[in-house]
Assembly symmetry: D2
Homo-oligomer: 343 residues x 4
């Protein structure tokens, strides 16, 4: 195949890099199958018209003006590897003309689900403080060390949000014979039932769950959704595990609910990242902290490249992309997750 016959792909994957998201072997395939033009996102508009005119794919989420997009008649898909959708391109134009906008956030589902289960187990069994006590010679043996210990097996699990991450969580919990209830107002109840979970209202998951996982994306509608009243509805001693974005909860209310001893909690996300050195969450008892580490595994980033390659292979055959998640006309403007600043 002559170089010019290869489909053209423009790469602007910031904050990712090609090396972060493609293994050497997959990177070789990428360069073998495609003519790859790399550009900084802020320089995208300055690409030559000839390049824009031939480009079939954009990997990344550079700011795109309508004017630029109108120069790109061959464009089939914008593959957003940051995975949050920024308001930096005319989505309506893209939907009209049939250019897909897809995200690769599903790569984080499995690692975040595993971290969520780790947190739930650590809260249930007091794993962290028991290890610290053991280091310090203060450990309690056997049953004496299990005052509030309980199982996940047979417990009531609640999940708020049932996208890729919620489904991954349900899957790794499938061996526990637990009852899983899900609140997700964007999904019809029968689809939840088909996946073996119980559809529920927000109040039901709050008041019935022994372990409540929050994995919903932040939208214009659910910012601050969970506050003091919500935590008050939770069962005494139940565990609240926050895995998606801090904006979905009132963080001060969460800390108050934990410090009062009403609930236990764990969080991978914080109102400010990095968090202030003197933030009270750092010393809060009954709380497990993770510094936005749940998803950011190299194994996950490398799956981004795999997904991009698989979907481009479909689109090269004039098929729709199936592997990545497509932005939707109805919801693209509701998304409010903050961008990540570091990988």
């Amino acid at each position: 195949m002559s170089l010019s016959a290869k489909p053209l792909l423009i790469c602007a994957p910031h904050p990712r890099t090609l090396d972060l998201i493609f293994s050497p072997a997959k990177r070789a395939i990428l360069f073998d199958k495609y003519e790859v033009v790399e550009v900084e996102p802020e320089d995208f508009d300055q690409l030559p018209d000839e390049t824009l005119g031939r480009a079939r794919y954009i990997v990344g989420q550079p700011p795109l003006s309508l004017q630029t997009l109108q120069k790109m008649p061959e464009l089939k898909c914008i593959m957003n590897v940051e995975s949050n959708l920024f308001d930096n391109m005319p989505y309506e134009y893209l939907f009209q003309t049939g250019v897909h906008v897809v995200t690769t956030g599903a790569v984080f589902a499995q690692p975040v689900a595993e971290m969520g289960l780790a947190m739930a187990l650590c809260l249930a069994r007091n794993v962290i403080d028991a290890d610290l006590d053991f280091r310090n010679g203060n450990e309690l043996w056997g049953r004496d060390g299990n005052a509030d210990a309980r199982l996940i097996s047979g417990a009531n699990i609640g999940i708020i949000g049932f996208g890729d991450l919620g489904r991954s969580l349900a899957r790794i919990l499938s061996g526990f014979q637990a009852e899983i209830s899900v609140f997700d107002p964007w999904l019809p109840p029968s689809m939840l039932e088909e996946q073996g979970v119980h559809p529920a209202t927000l109040d039901e998951v709050l008041s019935n769950s022994d372990y409540l996982f929050v994995v919903a994306s932040v939208t214009s509608e659910n910012r601050g959704l969970l506050n003091a009243q919500s935590f008050a509805k939770m069962k005494r001693g139940s565990a609240f595990i926050l895995l998606s974005r801090a904006d979905i909860v009132d963080f001060n209310d969460l800390m108050a609910a934990v410090s009062s001893g009403h609930i236990l909690a764990a969080s991978d996300v914080f109102p400010d990242e990095p968090l202030a050195p003197d933030h009270p969450a750092r010393k809060l008892k009954g709380f497990i902290r993770s510094a936005h580490r749940a998803g950011a595994l190299d194994q996950a980033f490398l799956k981004m490249g795999d997904m991009v390659l698989e979907d481009m292979e479909l689109m090269d055959q004039d098929l729709p992309p199936m592997r990545c998640k497509r932005a939707e006309r109805e919801t693209v403007s509701r998304m409010r997750s903050k961008p990540v600043l570091v990988n």
Copy 2:
């Protein structure tokens, strides 16, 4: 039913107590269905012949002489709620006469399996030290904090021993799409395959596993089974999780393998319990400590009473006990687990 018509049951459940193993509701059922004689184990031999002559069940594991047993023609079952088998009764006589000896150790399978998974996840994701760093203001954010992080999903899991605990572990791992290999010389390979795990040799589970769980009981044959040579066969960076009894490993060799950085490890059991205040395991990096807490949950102890009631109901109908695990002629004398001193 007149009181004398109730089957007689002698209770000597030390170190358990009736209140530990029976919920109030189940305890009421016990006393309603059976004439219950409570005795200290060391006083068992002094029970009146009339009592011994009518006893259908013993709950506990008191020392029993042949002479005493010969006074118990109605005895159907000794229900050992300590769950290790001591060498304090003439088992051969019991087997000959068809008196069952059963143990309730299966109640610990689920809690220990969950603790084992908690340990594996904590090792995989550095959950404990990351929380400590966060408390101390030294946390690393996102990918920077995930230097050696890895998933359980898709990993190679090894399990040594596939009794109740091994099966519970395999079940709670069933949602992870991991390959599970099992070494258990007491089970035929096809039974392992039927349960969806791969039969393997000891060398195979040592050298192939990313996470290796040891859940085998201690026997006369496997004491010290795992030593420096064994750990050397493990993959660099793999995780060793000890959940059954410390005697199955050379503990000094285990600590050396961890302190050298070759493997990570976690253990619920120790060569001495409690462990000496200055024991180096207390400060060992790459090691998670649990003070024999994995199984000793109140939820678990209460299941002992449930199991005892269910099996007595079967035996009352001249059916064999199915819920508890029966001691076997061939293996009873090979068991070498130390008794527990505390619950």
Copy 3:
């Protein structure tokens, strides 16, 4: 709510009827929540402009001209309950303007999958002819009657096409510990792997399968895909089960492969329906016939109404439909399944 405030829905569900697809209870909900205008498909264009102008949904697949659609600015979705996509409306205009076109064919997935498994089991165990022999007094007892009998457990299963039906089939086969390989050129391999099946080429599923299920929709590309050469690649004695549309196979070649004894087969679909009275398929040995009955259960039709109601509830909140399957710009024009003439 005043009647005029209800969203307007135009019903033209031919060949379905409202009573076929809505239970009385669901029909009551439909009429309570929506202003329902019923119309014959051929009269759609004659609806008053006022009605068209207010309509939010169309249930059915009436012929729609661009002119008519342009009178429908409130239209959000065309809910095709026939479930094949006819070339009777300007899809491109619908995609541009963001009107969804969705189908409810997923309701047939479960019933067709169960019929497919019934056929596979009947072929594997010669259930039908053995019952006939028994009626006639010619039965063979025990092993004598099991000359070619074999299991599904542990067999190699092939599936061509992995949409709703393929996934249902994989799910009901999940308890058989069988290896399932799938050929579906419209799906990336990693999505198949995530669902626990092996991605495979067409040749691989043909040559390796003990049971091969064809559940792909007919497209412009796969008409006549399976022919004499294909069947020759299959293992002697393997079973071919056709569940989607007859056009995907060369039916004469299929019959030849069965009558030669090379393979066994079953089919729910035929080149002409009804089939000619003297068609040789009627008497073919080694062949099981089903008169396009696999999906057409009342239970299935009633789920159509459930799906329509669930998705309208989402769209009423300006959310995208999730329950029904959306037509895709890239593939809508490739679909070639014949319409059904009867339910």
Copy 4:
């Protein structure tokens, strides 16, 4: 190893043969590891004392007198490959002396479960008569042919008896999202719950099941257990599938319940086998007949040899047999299944 050093095994596998139960490869292993003495069951007592004195295993179920057994001090296990337990040996003596009596009936669990599911699906979808109608040109197309068709997915399943076969059935049904209730008075309820099925009374499984499978062995207590009153409790139109032994039902009552149209039924077993040529079951509508073919697959018989080899390997190491099922003191005398006359 010198021939005399090999453990001695006496083979009297009637009605099986060595070639039926051992593949050539496994047979070679058998003869390599063991000194094999083949004998007709009726000649067993005439074996030389020296042979009896050295024999470690008997494969088969020959009549054994106490006198003969007393000459066999090395005997560890009688491996009954017929799999019903006859009253032709002093079991009590065997239990006292610790000689295991094991059966290999588990090999039939998978094939019988698959046949049971085949029958259930054929009854649910009228597969057999619909194929006959199609052969004869009387088929009804689509929904017209599905008057009483229904799904297994989502149905209430009942199972009577939860040994190997019941568990196999539950496993192959696991993908159907059906509720499974089990009546088995020999098992404690919590063991059923652990396996994901609901413990139930006989009346509950009769009155609630859409599909009721009978897989219990015949015992002295359950002969004729299911009769006219039982069938009257079943839901109109529900399906009764008999897979174990005919003696557990009153067969005339079963036929009456079917011919009245109250229930549908299928059976693999009959009061007399072979069944009289003019027996009314042959022409009964709503009934599927299988001539005791459900288990008797070559694949199953060959697993018998595998199981025997695996358990002998354990016993050769002084471990208990785990693969085959052990006869139990309490229940051996209650078993009443008729012997099989043919394989």
